[in-house]
């Protein structure tokens, strides 16, 4: 195989490239097919209709909020899972990662029986005057539930790879544990945290099943972009395709912009692998 000068030995057998190409085509072709189906003259009016813009705005707002919630809840979870062994740790990890493999609709049902009016916590919340069902909060809860594992997995991996040598040194230099976390641990795993947050955001943006089951669908309140697409598909296929493309574009932009390789000198080894 003719390689450009200056490139080294990769150790990849040539046939791997063929399969890799097939894999790439498998992912890209449906996107191409969708793009080909877009009604271009109507594209701008379709995606700038009031309901579309409302849905997009709601999706971005709720996804940002749930990403923040994932960071707040996920960082401590990842730290506990990666750094301090305790009985039942494997079990806890399995449960935290469960939403990764669970059909989202199952997550929605579970959330319903937790935060719903008749739910485990919902009853008490209702008495306290807090109603979650059919509110934007419900959307955020559903998104956080399905997106949290992405952050935890990503960050736990980064924490394990980084090890705790730097933390030990920081402690002997007189830094209290909170200082070590803030000034050493978090900066060291920042690339892992960032990629986890981006994945969480992307997952939140695409959340559909749990939201539909748990939060309902009302314009401006709970009807996020995926729900809008699902509804538009009933009557207006062109609008559904146009909105799908919009969602893909937003997701690609978010992931593409933030999911870059870190600078070599600043990265703890393996943070992105």
């Amino acid at each position: 195989m003719n390689r450009r000068s200056g490139t080294g030995y990769t150790g990849i057998p040539p046939w791997i490239y063929a399969i890799a190409a097939a894999g790439a085509v498998f992912v890209l072709l449906p996107l191409v097919a969708m793009v080909a189906k877009v009604n271009w003259p109507q594209f701008i009016p379709l995606i700038t209709s009031e309901s579309s813009l409302t849905a997009l705005g709601l999706s971005l707002r709720t996804s940002a909020t749930s990403t923040a919630a994932c960071v707040v809840l996920g960082v401590p979870l990842a730290l506990v899972l990666a750094r301090s062994p305790f009985p039942g740790q494997r079990l806890l990890r399995a449960f935290v990662l469960l939403p990764l493999v669970l059909p989202p609709v199952v997550g929605g049902i579970a959330l319903l029986y937790t935060f719903g009016r008749q739910g485990l916590l919902g009853r008490s919340l209702e008495m306290a005057g807090i109603q979650i069902a059919f509110s934007t909060t419900a959307v955020v809860l559903a998104q956080t539930f399905v997106a949290l594992p992405f952050l935890v997995v990503s960050l736990e991996g980064a924490l394990r790879t980084a090890g705790n040598k730097y933390e030990a040194v920081a402690a002997t230099l007189g830094a209290r544990p909170s200082t070590v976390l803030r000034r050493v641990t978090i900066p060291l795993v920042l690339p892992g945290l960032a990629s986890g947050a981006v994945l969480s955001f992307a997952r939140s943006l695409g959340e559909f099943g749990a939201t539909l089951t748990f939060a309902g669908s009302l314009q401006g309140v709970t009807r996020t972009l995926p729900l809008e697409i699902y509804l538009q598909r009933e009557t207006d296929a062109d609008a559904a395709v146009a909105l799908s493309l919009l969602l893909v574009a937003v997701a690609v932009a978010v992931v593409g912009l933030s999911y870059r390789r870190p600078r070599v000198d600043a990265a703890p080894e393996g943070a992105f692998r």
């Binding site: 040194v169 402690a171 002997t172 007189g174 200082t179 070590v180 000198d265």
Partner: protein, 349 residues
């Protein structure tokens, strides 16, 4: 105001007791796995022993007696750790790395940076202040790490083989630097290099299998080693056994004849120590059977300076390359090590 430590950790077969004066540096020597790093981890609070007590300058670092159970967290101990790798925080500049200790102690950003500049200058790294760790060579990074440890103003500085990862050009520079900054400080340095012990430490402690096998002023230990490990470091042969009129008798019944000052009585534990240059190598037993002639099987031959070092039967001899060629030595051969009794020192173990 001394440092006093007693610690036991059964899982690692570790049981050590030691003390340090206010401005004393001790070197910990010992083979791999002897418990040297365990010792530093226990002192710095990264590892909890089963039992014991440590006091540093009047403060109790830990006291695990049943009725006390005191355990200070690492960040309150004042025991800065300098490891084999510099472990500079990769996201901070050299200056901010050094300022980390003062900042953690509550100093303002400006004051911490001032302290940091002082210590960077102290280790001849003032010009590296703005660099990221990724832009430093191994030697430069380790110098910055020294500055970082000192800037934390530790009451006890712990150094875990600080020169081990450096190349042969960077190590002497750092050794000189450490000699300068450790003067008048309390420090414990783990090392494999006898030169570190000689240059940097007032006393050495030899740790073997989690226990102190030998301790004393560096010079004494190197001149009159009592453990095989210390003898190896000093480049001397050592045979341990029981003192008899003839010399030292090993457990295997081998008798090493030599001279002692007469203070030793028969039956006492003693060691016979002799330099490898005092050992002659012969293919057969001859010379009218001198008092010390031992048949041994060669295990290894290696260049040693301008000599060839012949390892055999747990002893070693230094001979010229020409002699080695004349004798046709190869590993596996059986030869005779002959040592003049006058070259053998015998003293208590």
């Amino acid at each position: 105001m001394t440092f006093q430590l007693d610690a036991t950790l059964a899982a690692r077969g570790f049981e050590v007791s030691l003390s340090l004066g206010p401005a004393e540096t001790i070197a910990i020597l010992g083979p791999n796995g002897a418990g040297k790093s365990t010792l530093l981890s226990i002192i710095s609070g990264l590892l909890r022993p089963d039992a014991g007590k440590a006091v540093l300058g009047g403060r109790v670092l830990f006291d695990l007696a049943a009725d006390k159970n005191i355990w200070r967290a690492p960040h309150t101990r004042g025991t800065a750790l300098l490891a084999q790798e510099a472990l500079l925080f990769p996201h901070l500049s050299a200056l901010d790395n050094v300022a980390f200790g003062p900042r953690s102690a509550g100093a303002s950003s400006a004051a911490a940076r001032e302290t940091a500049m002082h210590w960077l200058a102290e280790v001849d790294a003032g010009d590296l202040a703005a660099r990221r760790p990724g832009q430093l060579s191994g030697g430069q990074a380790q110098r910055v790490a020294v500055a970082r440890a000192l800037a934390a103003d530790p009451e006890l500085l712990l150094l875990d083989e600080p020169m081990a990862a450096l190349d042969i050009h960077a190590a002497p520079l750092l050794r000189r630097l450490l000699k300068r900054v450790l003067a008048g400080r309390r420090a414990i340095i783990i090392t494999h290099d006898i030169l570190d012990a000689l240059m940097l430490a007032d006393r050495v402690i030899v740790l073997e299998d989690g226990r102190i096998s030998e301790a004393g002023p560096t010079r004494d230990v190197l001149e009159k080693p009592r453990s095989r490990f210390a003898a190896g470091l000093a480049g001397l042969n050592l045979v341990a056994g029981t003192v008899s009129d003839a010399g030292v008798t090993t457990a295997q019944g081998m008798v090493v004849a030599g001279h002692h000052d007469g203070t030793l009585g028969p039956g006492q534990d003693g060691v016979a120590v002799f330099p490898p240059s005092a050992v002659s190598v012969f293919l057969t037993e001859e010379h009218g059977s001198p008092r010390n002639s031992f048949p041994v099987r060669i295990t290894d031959l290696e260049p040693h300076g301008d000599q060839i070092r012949v390892h055999a039967g747990g002893l070693f001899a230094d001979i010229t390359p020409a002699a080695s060629a004349d004798l046709g030595l190869t590993p596996g051969m059986t030869v005779h090590f002959v040592i003049k009794a006058a070259a053998i020192a015998i003293y208590p173990a």
